[in-house]
Symmetry: C2
Subunit: 125 residues, 2 copies
């Protein structure tokens, strides 16, 4: 299963991701590459540029994410599967929304971790 190092990596990544998302989500584009894919509320984006644009254009000004410790597993080709459950509040709303987000991190040719796969969905029934 996930080594302590992998759990530490995932925890650091998730903390960084949501801190950046809430502070200045334009900067998130740097976490993606041309091969990255994102499904945000069932809407697909492919490639860092399109993903960055999608995130930047989300229709809210302010967001605050809270998240529980992620579940972490190694993938079969050296990546890291990360599953997050959390709550977010948009534009100072009163009711937090539950969300699920899944990342697969991979290493680029320079040896830096990036987001290869990203699936975000609000938990609504």
């Amino acid at each position: 299963m996930a080594s302590p190092e992998l759990v530490e990596l995932a925890t650091q990544f998730v903390t960084h991701y949501y801190t950046q998302f809430d502070a200045d989500r334009k900067t998130l584009v740097g976490l993606y590459r041309d091969a990255s894919v994102m499904t945000f509320q069932e809407q697909p984006s492919a490639g860092a540029a399109a993903i960055g644009q999608k995130l930047e254009q989300l229709p809210f000004q302010k967001v605050v994410h809270k998240f529980t410790p992620p579940d972490v597993q190694p993938t079969s080709n050296g990546g890291v599967l990360i599953a997050v459950l959390g709550q977010l509040v948009v534009d100072d709303g009163e009711t937090p929304l539950n969300f699920s987000q899944i990342f697969i991190l991979a290493k680029d040719q320079a040896g830096s971790w990036y987001v290869q796969n990203d699936i975000f969905k609000l938990v609504v029934f």
Copy 2:
């Protein structure tokens, strides 16, 4: 993004998985291999035998899963990432529980799809 064929594969898999889970969860072991890993409510299991045992020994007699159409993405090495949000009812309880489950399907040497990664968690805050 995910081709129609991949979405169809994922939909068939998920439908099969929960149908088998609800009918006779002992049979689910056949969907895993020695390299498979599962994190069920934060508890790790590795290998088909351990995963099958874990699923079989879950402390309920009857369960009914309902699920929404899964999000599907190709992974970087030919696998399929599947994200499911759903609700389940255990032992004829009155309150459905929200759950998130993530699968990565991979092909074994015989060309059959199996579950390489599995993360299940109830959505509770």
